[in-house]
Amino acid sequence: MKARKTLLAAAVGTALMAFGATATALEAKISGQVNRAFMAVDDGEKSDTFFVDNDNSSTRFRFVGSAEAQPGLRMGILFEVEFQGNDSNLVNMPNTPGGPGKSTGAPTFGERHSAFFLEGGWGKAMLGQTDGAANGAVEVDLSGTSVAHYAGNTDIAGGFRFRDAAGTLGTAASPNPSIGASSSQQDFESRYDLVRYDTPLFGGFKLAGSLGTKGNDDVKEVALWYSGNLGALGQLAGAIGYSRRDTAAGDDEIVGGSISWLHRSGFNATLGRTDRDDPAAGRDKTFSYLKLGYKAGRHAASVDWGRGEDQAAAGDESDFFGIGYVYTPVAWAELYGLLKRHQLDRPGASFDDITVLMLGSRVKF
């Protein structure tokens, strides 16, 4: 990693000197954030505390560089890595079948974006690892509380398993279902190696499409994004997307989207929904989400509800309810709190609810 950083710094320096000599307008920006939190979890039988990196918006570094290659054509790179230890979506109770328990071990770097882009009046094209065209389409949210809670409910405490009537977490051969497996927001195919094209904005709308590979599977995504200022009615943003992953079991398809409205009074409402046709599981899986909030000055608060159906097993209904609050004392820091409860109903089985409390801070440096 040290060698990579040195190489990157040398490349940036050389590029700046080279372009500087030819009077090319080149700009490079390095930014980042730290997002750490305290988490307490009660699974109905045991309770414990955890120190985590909040996977809603992980600790990370970003490098963006671009230059005007010719009039009307800008080219550049986007490089972003996350550096997480005790990821909030991975830790779970000690002695959980499959682990990892309270610690995930040494922190690791993870590639988020490593892509080249071309941009002009015709839109934007990207090549490399970055977001698929529909990534985030079920997570559009104007509440100001996303760092505490949003549709991606499994990013916090997703690794915890539900205790059964006997008070166990299952066995190594047959562990009980986790939050992550029961109420995923099914946000399409995330980030992978791809080529992507985004149209320019037309009246607040843009269309995006991507083709790529994830593992050994080919992936195609398309999405329509919207965002607009409605004047006295406030702001509105939304997206609908479709993805298809060609797996060995067949086409894994997801369709869905979200819409979020922020009124000028500070009241806001968010709605999301996805339907997945999972050929490996042999059934359809759904996710529904609703959030209501209020935002005023440095404060934002919200309540949310979501449900995953038929995700871990046919007939499953996994509900969650949350209350979140974010305080922004200075422009570069947020302090947040979250209280959330997860339930799993399965025909012929009984599971305890899981309650999660999280207190943390995201600081941009």
Partner: protein
């Protein structure tokens, strides 16, 4: 696959979008926030520019 839920969302978005007075750039709150940074100041990033890219005030 049942496309109805996505269709309803799209119709609602399109209807409300008809009232839009001006475009707004949506930015996910899950990304590094815009605005100033603790150490990077008002720029919100450590910025390196060639002379040609510097604002006129630097000249």
């Amino acid at each position: 696959m049942d496309l109805r839920p996505a269709l309803y969302v799209a119709l609602l978005a399109a209807t409300l979008a008809g009232c839009a007075s001006q475009p707004l750039e949506y930015r996910s709150q899950l990304e590094i926030p815009e605005g100033p940074g603790m150490f990077s100041g008002e720029d919100g990033a450590f910025v390196f520019r060639t002379r040609a890219a510097r604002p006129a005030i630097d000249e």
